[in-house]
Structures are given as structure tokens and as C-alpha cells.
């Protein structure tokens, strides 16, 4: 009952913050609209490049264009979902250096809840979301998927899991901020390059990269395995079947581990000498 109440409170708090964040975004309408289009165009171009390069081939290693784009849509939609809830984690260094974190610490609400609520990058949410949705709509019916209730449930749970996997990676890098070590550049390099690899079926790559994408930065669970669940390409025999269902488990396990580390890092938080603004 208490848990239910807390969950309910958290949702209401999130709604409040969302409303206020939206108000700010609307205040800078023009700027934010332009940013949205910039993100939308950048990501669309990425997709178009792949499209034009691969158009010449009917299929690569048995993957058709639509199937590859279906796989790609997972990356966009899960990133969009991730941004909707974890912008505060993505921008954690600025949350700390601006002094905002001090303010969170003096409120009688859980820190993670506040970080989730506090910031939202609407432009990235909509930008990635729009590209993902277009790809999804274009491909989800043409690659021969039966949208049964089970499949829809799988899709939703897996998408959430995929967002949590990405949140864990960002949260891991945010831990270093407690020791005043900035890892933003390193993190972006690792994250976005892994993500680029995950835009194609991992069977295209040598074993080393496959293993990296499964065991180190587990982007295989963000795009490849979820797509394979629906597409069932014969190459699936290369991997253990269980991987198809592992996305939410990997997400939750990673997040739990990183969260523990984060909680521990919190003890080393040293605030900042003076204000930033």
C-alpha cells in the first residue's frame, strides 16, 4: 500500500515537473523548434546515408533494407524513451556544476526521482522519437510481423529495457562526477560509437565487436536481439536463444549495479566552493 502510494506520488511529481519543463520549452519556442529540426535532420540524414548506400543491394547477409531499418528504429525509439526520463542523468555533470544537485539534496524526495523529474530534453525526445516512429511505421507491417498481444507486450517491455540499458551506461559515467572527474567526452565516444555499430545487425561484424556489443556496451540488446525476436533470421543460430528475451533483464541488472555504485559515489560528493550563477 505504501509502495503504491509512493509510486502514485512519483507519477504525480513527474507530471508536475513535466508541465513546468514544457512551459520553459514553450517560452523558448523558436529556439527549441529549430533544435528539434536540427536533431531530426541529423538523424534522418544518418538513416538516408545507409539507405542510399545499401539500396544497390537487394539484401546483405540475408537482411533486406526494411528489416535493417526496422532494427534501426529500436535505436531511435529507445533513445527517445531514455531521454524522456533520464535527461538529468545524461546532463549530470551540468546538474552538479550548476549547483542544482545541492538543491536536490535538501528536498524530501528521493534523488533518483528528482533527477528523473528535473530535466527533460524535449527536442531530443521528439527528434529521435519522430525518426524512430517514421521508421517503425514504414517497416513494422512490411517485414511480416504478427502484432499479437504477446508480441506487443514483448515490444513494449523490451523497449523499456533498452532505454534502461542506455540509462545505465550514462549513469555509470555520471558516477565519476562525484569525484570531480569529467568523463563526458569519453562517454560520448564510447556510447555513440557503440550505438553506430548497433545500427546494423551484429552478425556483420567480427567476433570481437560482437562480444563487445553483447558483454561490454550491450547495445546488441537494444537493437539486434529485439529485432531478431520478430524477424527470426536463420543466423540466429550463432547466438544463444535466450538472448532474445534478455533485454529487460540486462537493463534492470545493469541499472541495479550502477545505482549501487552511484549511491556509494554520493558519499564523495563535495559540492562546489562557490556558486556558478
Amino acid at each position: 500500500m505504501k509502495l503504491l502510494n509512493n509510486t502514485f506520488d512519483t507519477i504525480r511529481l513527474f507530471a508536475r515537473f513535466t508541465k513546468l519543463n514544457l512551459k520553459i520549452t514553450l517560452e523558448y519556442k523558436l529556439d527549441r523548434t529549430l533544435t528539434f529540426f536540427a536533431i531530426f535532420c541529423r538523424e534522418s540524414v544518418n538513416v538516408l546515408v545507409i539507405y542510399f548506400i545499401l539500396k544497390k543491394f537487394i539484401s546483405i547477409k540475408g537482411w533486406e533494407m526494411n528489416e535493417m531499418l526496422f532494427l534501426y528504429s529500436f535505436l531511435f525509439l529507445s533513445y527517445s524513451l531514455f531521454v524522456a526520463f533520464f535527461t538529468g542523468i545524461r546532463e549530470f555533470d551540468s546538474v552538479i556544476y550548476s549547483g542544482e544537485f545541492d538543491r536536490l539534496l535538501i528536498r524530501p524526495v528521493g534523488l533518483l526521482t528528482q533527477i528523473i523529474c528535473a530535466r527533460m530534453d524535449h527536442c531530443a525526445f521528439l527528434g529521435h522519437g519522430a525518426v524512430g516512429l517514421i521508421l517503425f511505421i514504414k517497416t513494422s507491417t512490411s517485414v511480416g510481423i504478427q502484432w499479437t498481444p504477446t508480441n506487443i507486450l514483448y515490444y513494449i517491455v523490451t523497449l523499456v529495457g533498452a532505454a534502461i540499458i542506455q540509462a545505465s551506461l550514462f549513469m555509470l559515467s555520471s558516477c565519476f562526477n562525484f569525484w570531480a572527474i569529467r568523463t563526458t567526452n569519453l562517454r560520448n565516444m564510447i556510447f555513440f560509437n557503440s550505438r553506430r555499430f548497433a545500427g546494423y545487425p551484429i552478425s556483420f561484424y567480427p567476433a570481437l565487436i560482437q562480444n563487445l556489443l553483447i558483454y561490454v556496451t550491450p547495445f546488441a540488446f537494444v537493437s539486434y536481439f529485439p529485432a531478431q525476436y520478430f524477424l527470426r533470421k536463420p543466423e540466429l543460430s550463432l547466438f544463444w536463444d535466450g538472448f532474445l528475451y534478455m533485454t529487460p533483464i540486462v537493463g534492470v541488472a545493469m541499472f541495479a549495479l550502477v545505482y549501487m555504485l552511484w549511491k556509494n559515489g554520493l558519499k564523495h560528493y563535495s559540492s562546489s566552493g562557490t556558486s556558478m550563477y
Binding site: R16, L20, I24, D102, I106, R107, P108, Y269, S270
Partner: protein, 333 residues
């Protein structure tokens, strides 16, 4: 039992020593070198419910660090803190709902939103009942005149307006204890006065316990009975303002204008501190010489035009203490 208790509180900062040049940068990345800075060094004090305590000390003394530990922002390196029986970092949420915090140098308000939006959000976060919220809002509006800029985005407010809004924000939930870290920084005389009045009023009316840091002795003199002075991370004085004045301000400055220039004036317990023709300035140690006796002697023996007597200012005493001119601990000197 005391509302706040701090025992042997220590905070050490680990400062990353950066070496010069590319090799140095690589070196410090591989083998990080730390310097330990003891910002707070074994502080113990307790504050009773309803007390109003001024917390002063020179720049870098460790005031903000102490406030951050008391409010649960920083975890102490060692030592114990109890606020209403709870530890601020172990029971962060429980303590947070009992206290309010104002950082003069940093706003708690939402930069891009009208003041009232932040207030509404705080109402929700602290679960403030409608009636109480409205009552407080009305009261703060009246005392701090917040209603005049309630609907303006915070970024458009003047420093004084912002500070008033910040102070109101920290008290909406009727905290039992409020910490102010330099609430009057950068404000003009009138704005300062208004904030002092407000703080005093709330303390008297609601019995809110308060601790505040400042560099303005007037703030302390006009609001607090008790004052804690901290320097280099240690407490060097904890007592009443009255006492410090009594102990270290037991002298008067007597300025005399004679009708002609006298040379070699000397009296027991009196120091000539300034001489400008007919005008002389004396510092009278009251333990050795009564001012009235000095005046009698002066008027009887010399031709005096005018005499003024000044009490020492608390600012001067504090300045002396910071500069080491007054030693508070008799055992050490």
C-alpha cells in the same frame, strides 16, 4: 535536549593536484595526486530550539562547508550531527522536511519560471496543506512584498527581490529550523534591513530555530543574541555579542579638540592614537582609567574646546579578532 548537536565535526576536501604541461596532465591522470584540505576541523556546538545564532568568520573559514554538512548536502569526514535527533545524511529526507535552506549566492528558484510556479511546486514536494500554504503565502507577501513580482520569471528579478523570494520559498513548509548562508550578500541597506526584520519576526512568531552566516556584523547585532566565530575551520568564540563587547570592547575612543596645541600629553591607561594639531584621539582602557576621570583631568588642566566619546564598534572588534589582534583563548597566548 538541544535541537542541533554537532560533535567533533570534520570535513576534509580532496583536491586534485594538477601538474603543468602535457606530461604533467598524463602523469596526474595515471597517478592522481591529492592534497587534503581540512575545511572544518573538529567543530562541536549545540543549538537549542528557537535560538537565533550568527555564524561568522573570514572568507574560507569553513562556514558554508559546515552549513552544507548540517543540511545533508555533504557527508562529514568524521564526527556526528543530529538535527532533531536525526542524522542529516543518513535520514536525508526526514531531515529535509524539517529544515529550510537559503543560499544567498545561489537561487533555489526555477530560473525560467515565475516565482509562483516554484512556490506551487514546493507546496507539492513538501506536501503543504492548502490552508497552511495560503496562510504563509499571504504572510510572506505582506512582509516581503513578494506579490509585486510573483508572476515574473526569476531571471528578471533584482537581487533583492530574488533573495526575498528565496527566503519565502525556504519557509513555506514551516520548517523547524532554517539555515541562511549569506542571506544579505550584495543587498542595499534598506533591503538588508527588511530581511533582518523578517527573520526576527518569524523567529519570534513561530519560534523557528535559525542559524545564519554573514559578513555584515550589523546583521548579527540586530538579530542574534548568540554568535559563533569560526576561523581556519575551528570555533574561536561561542557566546553572546554582549559578552564579546564587554570582554574585548572595554575601551572608549575619546576625541578632544584643545584650544591650543599641547605636547607630551600622557595619562595612565590612555594611549594617544592620533594627533593632528589641536585635535587628539585617545584610546582609554576602562580597566585602568574611567572616562569621566579623564575628562575631569582634561578640563581642569587644559583648555578644551570640544570632547566626543565613542564606543568601540563590533566590526572593529571582529576585525581585530580575525587579524589576531585579540586572542580569545587565554590559555594559548
Amino acid at each position: 535536549m538541544a535541537f542541533i548537536k554537532s560533535e567533533n565535526l570534520v570535513k576534509e576536501y580532496k583536491i586534485n593536484v594538477k601538474k603543468k604541461g602535457l606530461l604533467g596532465a598524463i602523469n596526474s591522470l595515471l597517478i592522481p595526486e591529492y592534497k587534503i584540505k581540512k575545511a572544518v576541523d573538529n567543530i562541536s556546538f549545540s543549538i537549542e530550539k528557537g535560538e537565533m545564532v550568527g555564524f561568522i568568520g573570514p572568507n574560507g573559514a569553513g562556514k558554508s562547508t559546515t552549513v552544507k554538512m548540517l543540511t545533508g548536502i555533504l557527508v562529514p569526514s568524521s564526527g556526528e550531527i543530529s538535527i532533531g535527533g536525526l542524522s542529516p545524511y543518513k535520514n536525508r529526507k526526514a531531515v529535509a522536511s524539517k529544515i529550510g535552506v537559503v543560499f544567498g549566492q545561489r537561487t533555489q528558484l526555477w530560473w525560467d519560471l515565475p516565482v509562483i510556479d516554484t512556490f506551487d511546486l514546493l507546496k507539492f514536494i513538501y506536501k503543504i496543506p492548502d490552508k497552511e500554504y495560503k496562510k504563509n503565502l499571504d504572510m510572506f507577501s505582506e512582509l516581503l512584498e513578494i506579490h509585486k513580482f510573483m508572476n515574473q520569471p526569476v531571471r528578471q528579478l533584482s537581487l533583492g527581490q530574488r533573495m526575498r523570494a528565496d527566503i519565502a520559498a525556504s519557509m513555506l513548509h514551516n520548517p523547524e529550523m532554517v539555515f541562511f548562508d549569506e542571506p544579505t550578500i550584495g543587498l542595499d541597506v534598506v533591503a538588508k534591513e527588511r530581511i533582518r526584520e523578517f527573520i526576527k519576526y518569524i523567529n519570534a512568531e513561530k519560534g523557528t530555530t535559525m542559524l545564519f552566516t554573514t559578513h555584515d556584523m550589523q546583521d548579527i547585532e540586530k538579530t542574534c543574541n548568540r554568535m559563533i566565530i569560526i576561523d581556519n575551520g575551528t570555533i574561536i568564540y561561542d557566546g553572546s555579542i554582549h559578552e564579546i563587547k564587554h570582554r574585548f570592547g572595554n575601551y572608549r575612543i575619546v576625541e578632544v579638540e584643545f584650544q591650543k596645541e599641547y605636547k607630551n600629553l600622557s595619562f595612565a591607561g590612555v594611549k594617544l592614537i592620533n594627533s593632528d594639531g589641536n585635535r587628539k584621539k585617545f584610546k582609554v582602557d576602562q580597566t585602568l582609567m574611567q572616562v569621566t576621570n579623564l575628562i575631569n583631568e582634561l578640563t581642569q588642566k587644559y583648555e578644551v574646546q570640544d570632547i566626543t566619546i565613542q564606543e568601540p564598534e563590533i566590526e572593529q572588534i571582529i576585525r581585530d579578532i580575525y587579524q589576531g589582534g585579540i586572542c580569545l583563548d587565554k590559555n594559548v597566548c
